[in-house]
Symmetry: C2
Subunit: 191 residues, 2 copies
């Protein structure tokens, strides 16, 4: 029942069965309907989320009111506004469900207790933070150095099948282009 | 002699005297002349640096060949291209000394051994990563949401006295404005 998240832990740390049990007890789980806000910009992000089923998006809204999607988080992905979560400052980003989803979540006090109980999790979350940083940096440098088509192919490679699950406007927002331009690009690349 | 870095450790973790000794043994130290490259874009970042004296800059160069400074790292600051260091992928950013400097540095194999020897350092570097992420995110959102003058005042607050130490062109590059505009802004704000 909890195999997905346990396998995810196992990617970076080795846990004995009793530690797996202990760890799971620090997480809560809930179902969220499509379009539910898990975080709004300006609020403090109280939770880190792990997606068991469905898909979330993390995004910010610029001065002109336009959304920019930083990432899509389907099954087996973690997300939060890392800075807001760990510093308890207002979030720059927002998190919303793009599908009916089921998520695990953990608060900072619970996480600190988990670190006390099973110190190996310091390593796990250090690595998650690094991965989050990498994604964030790659998002920014992709916008700087790559063409829209390269970014589109990168997206398809990272998230196979995602295109069929979410609205075109969200993919366009992730790529930093208009939906019309995305549609044109898809026709030209024959997909 | 190593008081600065020991005090820096103490900001996030409590080390017994013998652990301080053990930890220091994993770091090397060297002097670097002004303008020395500690990392060039495209290389793998082999080290994390802690500045004992002097000042480094972390920056990237855009498609048109223009430099964008992500941050200044004077005494008591850590820096590296986090993604390149932890993943051994080519660095997006470069690191250069802006003054004659003295730096501690540690490689990834040494760091992994430090984690084995004193697991508390997992926590220390998790927090450093978070702080690095926060700085990086704030840099990006500042460019999006704040005026050049607000960014200038933020810089002065974060780095008191730094303006007298480094070239105006570097401050302008950090603020994302031209040196001429920086000069005009300084006159207008009466500094």
């Amino acid at each position: 029942m909890h195999q997905l998240i346990l396998n995810n832990f196992a990617m970076h740390i080795a846990l004995a069965p009793y530690e797996q049990e202990q760890a799971l007890a620090f997480f809560q789980i809930k179902e969220v309907k499509k379009r539910t806000w898990l975080l709004r910009a300006g609020e403090i992000d109280r939770y880190i989320y792990f997606v068991k089923r469905g898909c979330l998006r993390l995004f910010y809204t610029d001065k002109s009111g336009e959304d920019h999607i930083i990432g899509f988080y389907p099954e087996n992905w973690w997300t939060c506004d890392i800075v807001s979560f760990f510093t308890a400052k207002p979030a720059v980003n927002a998190i919303q469900a793009l599908e009916n989803s089921e998520v695990y979540y953990i608060s900072l006090p619970q996480l600190e207790e988990l670190f006390q109980t099973i110190p190996k999790f310091e390593r796990f979350f250090r690595i998650l933070n690094q991965n989050g940083f990498e994604l964030y940096q790659r998002r920014i440098t992709s916008q700087l150095y790559k063409t829209a088509e390269e970014r589109y192919l990168e997206f398809r490679k990272r998230h196979p099948g995602m295109e069929q699950r979410i609205a075109q406007k969200h993919i366009a927002s992730y790529l930093g282009i208009t939906p019309a331009f995305l549609s044109m690009m898809r026709k030209e690349s024959g997909v």
